[in-house]
């Protein structure tokens, strides 16, 4: 096996390189900058060029160990060829292609194949073995078009603004927040951000991604114009004192989990918008087919049903137990979003990255 699962992560033995390892290793290749894939403590990190900014922000003092390459460029280690290819998940996200003696493996990381102006679109990469996430690996998950979701969000915002209440829109600080921002209609009112969102949004702008004008809502500010505002904040801000300065407000959460009514009700927000950075069921099927892979390993998500389904379709499929988490509907999504003061978290705070939380996607329950 060219790649093997060890207690540190997915390991390529002939190169002694790990992909998204969860324990410290000498050499790591990283799919993207979310906390369950990019962790502190490695000796060397390889990321995509466009992921450099967000990765360094997340790594803090480890940033000096990060090297970046353009998508598609091959890095050879002990005769093993590694290259990164767009995954369409967030800015800089990559699938890792690993080739050795004619055998090709691709690790998807997290990915989606539908439209998103904030990152390079997913590209199918031909391979013998495809290691895929399956966060939303059930046929109930079929995303509405991004255009339709943005229209719903803007209509909700307009209705709130006309009724004199601020619109609190919750989504992860890295990736989801910027995708939400990219779809907002600036003519409705001011766009405010939480500190964790503002930090990441600045990095998106720096990488050349078009973002609307945003105002960072600092701790001691208040403004009557905010009753028409939309506030983009990480889920952990919901119910915090930081939110109270906006006065009367309505709350919404943007996530793939919002497809199911029960998940919306448990979340306790007024509205749930179905917007995900992960593949839905139809995307998962077409992505696997596009790789031409004969063998598929399913990592995090609904691995049980996906493996059984793929076997019935004739694939050599197996589940591999990683520590990746996919899209959680839990509040502590990544450590940059748990700091409600908006100042950003300490790079040494690994608490949320290391806590094994039960995922809502656990098919065993």
């Amino acid at each position: 096996m060219l790649l093997r699962l060890t207690d540190r992560g997915l390991w390529c033995e002939p190169a002694d390189v790990y992909i998204d390892p969860w324990a410290p290793v000498a050499r790591a290749v990283i799919t993207h900058a979310h906390a369950d894939h990019l962790r502190w403590g490695h000796g060397h990190y390889l990321v995509s060029d466009s992921g450099m900014g967000v990765s360094c922000q997340r790594l803090g003092s480890y940033a000096s160990r990060v090297e970046s390459v353009p998508y598609g460029r091959v890095t050879t280690v002990n005769g093993v060829h590694f290259s990164l290819h767009p995954a369409g998940h967030i800015l800089g996200s990559a699938q890792i292609r690993v080739e050795y003696r004619g055998e090709v493996w691709v690790v998807s990381g997290d990915y989606k194949t539908d439209a998103d102006s904030t990152c390079a679109p997913w590209e199918p990469v031909r391979c013998h073995t495809f290691i895929t996430e399956c966060t939303f690996g059930l046929p109930i998950y079929r995303w509405p078009s991004q255009q339709q979701v943005f229209a719903e969000i803007n209509a909700w915002w307009r209705e709130n603004a006309d009724a004199g209440r601020a619109s609190m829109l919750y989504g992860y600080a890295l990736g989801k927040a910027q995708r939400l921002l990219s779809g907002l209609d600036q003519s409705i009112g001011p766009i405010l951000t939480h500190g964790a969102v503002e930090t990441m949004t600045a990095l998106y702008r720096h990488a050349g991604v078009r973002m609307p004008h945003t105002t960072y809502a600092t701790v001691d500010q208040r403004d009557p114009a905010w009753s028409r505002a939309i506030v983009v904040a990480p889920p952990s801000a919901d119910g915090s004192t930081w939110v109270r300065r906006f006065g009367k407000s309505a709350a919404a959460f943007a996530s793939g989990w919002m497809q199911v009514r029960g998940a919306r009700r448990r979340r306790g927000v007024d509205r749930g918008f179905t917007l995900s950075d992960h593949v839905d069921w139809p995307q998962l099927q077409s992505a696997i087919a596009a790789t031409g892979a004969e063998r598929v390993w399913a990592t995090h998500g609904f691995t049980g049903p996906v493996v059984r389904w793929l076997r019935e379709q004739g694939y050599d499929a197996d589940a591999v137990e990683t520590r990746f988490e996919g899209e959680r509907d839990d509040t502590a999504v990544d450590e940059t979003s748990t700091d409600v003061s908006g100042a950003g978290a300490s790079p040494n705070d690994t608490s949320s990255a290391d806590v094994p939380l039960p995922t809502a996607a656990d098919p065993g329950v």
Binding site: L138, P139, I140, R142, A250, Q259, V260, R261, G262, G268, V269, D270, R271, F302, G304, P305, R308, W309, E312, P363
Partner: protein
């Protein structure tokens, strides 16, 4: 039927009682009486019972979605509500044709009773 669905969405889309009451009030002040009567029946839980057996609904939904029964059950386990599971699984393309709520209930749903063989 579209108006009733919109009412349901509006009630579902807010946690504020005031917004729910406003949506109900707007619906009942404009809906045709026959629709409004059925809306009251459904909203108060007095829906017609046992027109179609639930196991049949599951089988047909799985067929329409082109998935095996076990995958339907996995989906149902995640959603927790049979009607919602079916809604999420069957193809969305052939949506409503504009018939009213009363037409749906009286001309399409209630006649299913005659198909039951005891």
């Amino acid at each position: 039927m579209n108006r009733f669905a919109a009412l349901y969405d509006a009630i579902d889309a807010s946690t504020a009682t005031q917004s729910k009451v406003a949506a109900l009030s707007a619906y009942f002040s404009s809906a045709p009486p026959a629709d409004a009567a059925w809306a009251v029946a459904f909203l108060t839980g007095r829906r017609p019972k046992r027109l179609v057996r639930a196991p049949d609904l599951r089988t047909w939904a799985a067929q329409a979605a082109n998935i095996p029964d076990w995958l339907f059950e996995e989906s149902y386990a995640q959603v927790g509500d049979l009607a919602e599971t079916i809604t999420l699984l069957v193809p969305h393309e052939d949506a409503s044709d504009g018939a009213s709520l009363a037409e749906w209930v009286e001309q399409r749903i209630l006649p299913l009773l005659s198909l039951i063989h005891i």
